[in-house]
Structure formats: structure tokens, C-alpha cells
Symmetry: C2
Subunit: 342 residues, 2 copies
Amino acid sequence: MAETARHSESRYGNRPTMKDVAARAGVGLKTVSRVVNSEPGVTPDTERRVQEAIEALGFRRNDSARVLRKGRTASIGLVLEDLADPFYGPLSRAVEEVARAHGALLINGSSAEDPEREQELVLALCARRVDGLIVIPAGDDHRYLEPEMKAGIATVFVDRPAGRVDADMVLSDSFGGARAGVAHLVAHGHRRIGFIGDQPRIHTATERLRGYHAALADAGIEVEDSWVSLGPTDPARVRAAAEAMLAGPEPVTALFAGNNRVTVTAVRVLAECERRIALVGFDDIELADLLGITVISQDAAAVGRTAAEHLFRRLDGAAHAPARVELPTRLIPRGSGELPPA
Amino acid sequence: MAETARHSESRYGNRPTMKDVAARAGVGLKTVSRVVNSEPGVTPDTERRVQEAIEALGFRRNDSARVLRKGRTASIGLVLEDLADPFYGPLSRAVEEVARAHGALLINGSSAEDPEREQELVLALCARRVDGLIVIPAGDDHRYLEPEMKAGIATVFVDRPAGRVDADMVLSDSFGGARAGVAHLVAHGHRRIGFIGDQPRIHTATERLRGYHAALADAGIEVEDSWVSLGPTDPARVRAAAEAMLAGPEPVTALFAGNNRVTVTAVRVLAECERRIALVGFDDIELADLLGITVISQDAAAVGRTAAEHLFRRLDGAAHAPARVELPTRLIPRGSGELPPA
DNA sequence: TAGGCCCTGGACAACGTTGTCAAGAGAATG
DNA sequence: CATTCTCTTGACAACGTTGTCCAGGGCCTA
């Protein structure tokens, strides 16, 4: 009776505990634990009684307590930039599938491309003692993760390399992809090609720009300053950049878009333009086939899957040196990249 | 010394605990706890010593233990259908923002439209004692949640109503949206309008179908069986359904697509078709403006935000009867819905 | 029938944290 | 100077679970 009263004031509403189940089933605490965990050494009859008590009380094991005792949370953290970005949805989903196959839950958070917020999120996840972390870096200094990694939290960086820290990474071949895309435009006769990309702080942005320069250098073309624009990828900035490149006496005849957000805005701008400007975008977009947009496609799901599999291999004890995996990209010609110079 | 040895074998790598910090700083355990939680009653000098010890050891509070003691996990669970679906990315992100504003983390999982998997996920989240749940139901019987809700886990159902359980819900006006969309087609002269939707098990699918029927009834049009097709929304099934409606002696002159996946496939099929078939789709799609697709738009972010705010109001103690919020939809004409009958 | 063994079940401590409470040191008051 | 009061500090229990270890009972064997 006193027992009941105590529980009705308990913090979890009035969740029954194993102790309550044990009392109701007339067995010891540990026996309930055994039944709940399907451990051997319980007679069918006892097990039945315990199960009945569990049903009757609506008992559900408290995983917090379990975690405290066992030291494994069976959860991993995923810190990405923005879940609303169509590139990260499939990535996150792929990570989740792998986690599920390993019986783990996924906690995720968006950094909104803010290094401070990234750190805050990562540390919160560490405080929960996630078993592992997959991080799409916003910042470029991850030394704050060192104590955590030393303490055994497996970490894989994705899409962009980690800063000042030695860890596993899974990247797409941004340099090679951009180089191939720009070379494609060159092959179709373009000599004046614009590049609109993300902020230089972001590794993929500079890698793609490097690929752009490499392709033009390969073709013996000298890049003019006005052809390149790096910065935030909100529609307003991208629109302004694109319009600037298309205006003036010697406008570009083709554009290379540094990521999916840039591509979307570029398509809008080009649709309003009377001249036919060629376009190749980094990242595939839904319905791009119908719009005839030529893209460099990276397989977001494959990136996520690879990273997660890496992580779980670490969690299962793999102790080799940090690896750096680079996944290939693919050029998908659909028309916009094959337009001749206007 | 023995202390050190014990810890070096500990399960969390060798994470220092408050006890270790206390020993190093030469203070009591509780004093460390006070510093970590910024509780009052610690002299600046003591605080400094403790902070130093925390830094030196790389201490990070173990939230599992904290949760066990305090009873609040400061995390909420989100169970949706598929994170890779462009409708759910923004929804999830909106939920995350609200959670973040309340200092909570978001754990999410995909049910893949499988009721069993939904239940499995929800119960796993309950075992972790998330403070609250936001569920996009896959199944139609949620009585399994009753003990959990009674035990104090706040729950909000989103996008589709809960089955056999009294709880808060945030829905979009599927019926009204579909009715308006189909009426739009009727207003543009169509009398033979096809409907391709999701499986009838899914509430939004039947609501939208109901809207379709209502609009046609309003116009005094009798629906033919062959105009309606419900089922999985994978491209193959949708394509087959669309092609069937467009073939035969009396084909439909317009299509209403029951969700974004259907719309995407429908656009592809119609693009291959020589006749101009009108199309209105439920859910907006990126770049739909460029493709000129008329849609019924529901604001995924608003749905997520509303649900999350509802949830936290519950967590902050709101105890009114379960509410049912229905958010309006918006018809966005872009061309495809305004085509006259071929 | 005695001895030993196996099998089931339970008592107890421990995980790392926070709430309660009481003790001790100074400061303020009479 | 004695007393009370305040402020800082630490000892201890508790949260709900699991691992360790031991006890008791039934069964088999000699």
C-alpha cells in the first residue's frame, strides 16, 4: 500500500518498476530482470507469472537505468547541417537504416552551418553517452572532440573533413566532380564559365572551386575574377551573383552551380533569361530530369550508409588507423550542360 | 591509485566522474555537482578549483545518471514515415527548432509506413523515457500507447489521426484541399478526372478521396470506377495507374495526384504523353513553379512547428482535453491545373 | 539413504548523478 | 562574550537496472 502511494507520486507519472512487477508476481527482483532480458534460468511457470504481472502493470523497462548500469546506450548521434535540405534527408535515412540493423536509435540535430551550434550539439550528444557520432562539420576545428574520442566515442566525419583532428572520414569527390562538370562545359565549346559556390569556410566549396580552376587550367583558359562568386547560398545572394555574371559586355555563357541550393536558384534565373545559358549543377535534384538539368550527382544515401557502416565497425572493435574514404561522383547529362555558347 | 585502476577499466573508456573531479579539486562530490549545475552557494575560489579539475580531466556530466535521478530526459521522439521524403525533412526540422528552443534533443525514426515498425520504435522511445512523442501514424490502432500516455508521456499525432486513442492531433485539411483542387479542375471544364492516391489504410488518402468525390458531387458528375486508383505510391504502380486512365476510348482529361510522390511520377508520365492532360497535385514540390505544376500546398514546417509547440505546452503542464487542430491548405495555380480538356 | 550436483531464485552492491539534511565556520546581534 | 543567523560544504540515500554470488531444493548416483 505504502508502495503504491510512493509510486503514485513518482516522477515518471507512476511507472511501475521491476520491483513492483516482482512484488506482484511474488518473485525476486532479479528474476524479473531475467525474464525481461530473456536470460536463461527461469522455469516456464515463473516466467509466465512474471509476464502476466508485466502486462497487468504496463511495465516498460527504464533504459536510462539500464544504460547507467551497462554503459552502452545503443544510440548514435548525427549532426548535420539542415534536415530540411533535400541532400540530407536521404543521408539521414540511410544512417538510420544501418543503425536500426544494429539495434541502435538515431538522435539527430541540425547545426545550421554554425560552428558553435555544432559543438553545443555534439557535446550534448556526448553527455548522453551516445555510442558513436556522425558529424557533418560546420566548423573547422574539432579539437574539442579529442577527450570524447579518447573516452571511446567513435566518430566519423562526413561530407567535409574534420579540422585538426585525426578521425575517420567519408567524403564525396568534390574536386573531381567539379572538374569533370566544368570540363564537360568546356567540351561543349564554352570558354567563359561562371562558378557560384558556398562560403569558402566550407571545405566542399573550396574543393569544388579547385576542380573548376583545374578544368579551366587543363583547357588553357585564364579565369577572370568576375566569373567566381563564393558566399551564402540563400536565393537572394545567388540570384545577384548570377545576374552579375550574365550582365555586362562579356557575360559568361555557362554556369557551374556549387550545390543544390545554388542550382535551384540558378535555374530560376536562367529561366527568365532570353539567351540560352548552359548549366551544370553539383548534386542531383528531384525532377531535374524533367527540367533537363545536367548535374554532378553524389549518392547521399551511399555516403550515409558508408559512414554508418564505418562507425559500427569501429563500435564492434575495429582499431585500424583512421581511414579516409572518397566516394565517386557521376556526371548525368540531361540537356542544360550540353547547350552551346549563346 | 586503486581508484585510477578501477576507472581505467571502466566501461566508458575511462571517463572521469564527479567523484574524480571532487578528489582532484579536494572538495566534496556535491560541490562539484553544484558547480556543474551552476547552483548557488559556492565561493568563487572553490568554483575556480573545481573548474580547473573539470578542464584538466575532461569531465563531462553523464546525462544517463542525471536522467535516472531527475526523471526528465529533455528529449522528444519523432516517428515519421520516411525522412527521405521531401515532405518530412522540413517538418522534422521545424520540430527540431522548437525542441531546441526548449532545450530538448530530438530522436527520430522512420516507420517506413509499417505499423509494426511504428510500434517498435515508439516503445523503444518510451523505454528511453523521452518526455514526449510526436507520431505520424502508420498503423490505425494506437491503444498500445495508452499505458505510456497514462504514465505521463505527452503525445501528439500529426498528419493523420490516432487510432482508437484520445490524443492531441495536428492535421492538414486533406478533405478541403482535395475538394478545392478537384473543383479547380472542374471549373476549367473537366468532367472526367482521375484520382491516384495512397493506400486506403492511410487516413489522408481516404480523406483526399472523399474531397475528390465531394467536388465531383458538387458538380453533379458521377464518378466512374476506372477513374480512381488507390495503392502503394511507388513509381511503377502509379505509372501503371496513370497509363490505364489515359488509355481506352474515354480517357480522363485531368488527373488529381494524392501526394507528392504520385505527383512526381504523374508529371513524368504526362511529359511522355502527346495530349495535354491537366494535373493538380497534393503537396508542393521543389521546382514545381518552374515546371508549372498546380498544387495544393500544405505547409510542412507549420505542421511540425504547431505539433511541437502543442507538445511542449503539454509538457509545461497544460491539461485541457485533447485538441484537434486542422491547418488549412492553399491552392497554387501554376499552369498544369488550368489546362482545358484535351 | 547419503552425498553431490545442477538448476532456479533472491539478496546485495554498483553504475553516476541529484535532493535532503546537518555540520561547521564566520558574521552579526544582544 | 554568548547567541543566533547565514553561508558554504559534504555525507548519505535514492533513482531503476544488471552483475555477482550464495542458498535451497530437487534429482541423480553410488
